[in-house]
Homo-oligomer: 152 residues x 4
């Protein structure tokens, strides 16, 4: 349950290209998994200069948040851009507004990203016109244009 | 909370063609809604002779069950067919096996159908090659062929 | 998944005195368990003449409902008494109103009782001044008088 | 959704004595609430020298974790004591092991504490022999000695 800063530094910093947009890359140490958490994901992430962490996305059900530890970058939230640095916090309620984190500085951007882990989740990727349904260990990706809306 | 048999008989018996396959028709009195239930659906359903209630389907998360009150018919469960009549019970665990109810008799088939109501649900329709994702009041229908599987 | 009326009749009809009030007795065939359901309880219950099924109780989170199959009795809902018979339905939303079912006739009262099965549940027994917290396979019963209310 | 470090510093640092043990005191800025999160609690907490944050406790369902930002202290996990400092992480799975955080240094101990927010929760306080059931805005505290265990 206890991970010292030294033990964390010794963990592999796993390179994670985004599964839909491999040019978006973050480096990840999953603190929560290492400590045995199942229902909250807690990741110590680093974005290298010039990179962005993920495809621009919005969660439908899982809340997510970020606490910046060091470096500088830009948090894009909907059509607003925030310059971020150490000690800043961003909460992402499930309000339909997409977001991404960019390192537009010349030094690593390091932050904690924390999120719920539900059994089912839906994530929208508005820039690439896709929706992902995650359930039971599967990720089902569909083009928004291929979804037939049926009113209940 | 209390609905007498007479009050139930006086409720409108709503004709409900299946939203994907309108030739599948059931008549529905939603007892649970009338009594104020939110998390369990309880429906008194009738299938007319020669009809089937729904498109052949499998729920991913919501358990469902049927208790037959009168009439005769056929419950199709995967590739097994059961003749059903008054007093029979069928439980549908979320095991991936699709099912449907058919009235192949010459009298109405009447049963209770009970199911969980979760915030999110996924239903497969293997005969027509579709999957439905229900969430937040939307039903998103996609062709199974249009789903890109992405391993986690 | 399929239980014929004959198979149901052949199931043991288990005598279940209420765990808090053993003089309240019902006979129980758990159809849902027999069919492999986990998240909905579906029970075919019988109350013998002169008995009542349970201690008078109110669920906090789990919705419950009853559909009467045969016999006559009295459903007590809060301070209202309803004469019930075949074809009547009672839904119990989680609204804080306690209820019980009594067989005050001279023949068996038979009904389906259906309820959610959540991981945690709280049930109040106002006549005997107790509250039960069910969680993780435990049932913790406390006297209402022993609960210290602490505002959040 | 975005809280700059300066905006966080300007938030009131609310003194929170523990509701059961008022001598345990932490200072709290609820970042998650300020950013509109509902299902995850994210708090920037400070323990003054010589204090401890809470009564020694174990959650039954809600996972919790801590990331230390500055200062030094002792995390007590069951009967193990860990010296903690900046960059350390502690995850508390719901495994029945109680924990507390103590500032036994001579400078403030500052950390993020993150936890699930479920509709119902149960927390044990083994040193003072109490259990708390939180539900629907209530906190019901009982002495462990007043709980009658009833096997299901």
């Amino acid at each position: 349950m206890y991970l010292s800063a030294a033990a964390i530094a010794a963990m592999e910093n796993v390179r994670r290209p985004h599964f839909l947009t491999p040019s978006a890359v973050r480096y990840d140490r999953s603190l929560g998994d290492a400590a045995g958490l199942k229902n909250i994901g807690v990741h110590l992430n680093t974005i290298a200069p010039g990179d962005r962490a993920t495809e621009f996305h919005a969660h439908h059900y899982e809340e997510e948040c970020i606490y910046v530890l060091s470096g500088r970058g830009t948090a894009v939230i909907g059509d607003v851009r925030h310059r971020v640095g150490a000690g800043d916090f961003i909460g992402y309620p499930t309000d339909g507004i997409a977001h991404e984190m960019i390192n537009d500085s010349d030094a690593p951007l390091v932050y904690l990203v924390i999120g719920q882990r539900l059994q089912q989740e839906i994530v929208d990727y508005p820039r690439i016109g896709k929706r992902m349904f995650r359930h039971g260990g599967e990720r089902n990706v569909v083009n928004l244009a291929d979804i037939e809306q049926s009113k209940r």
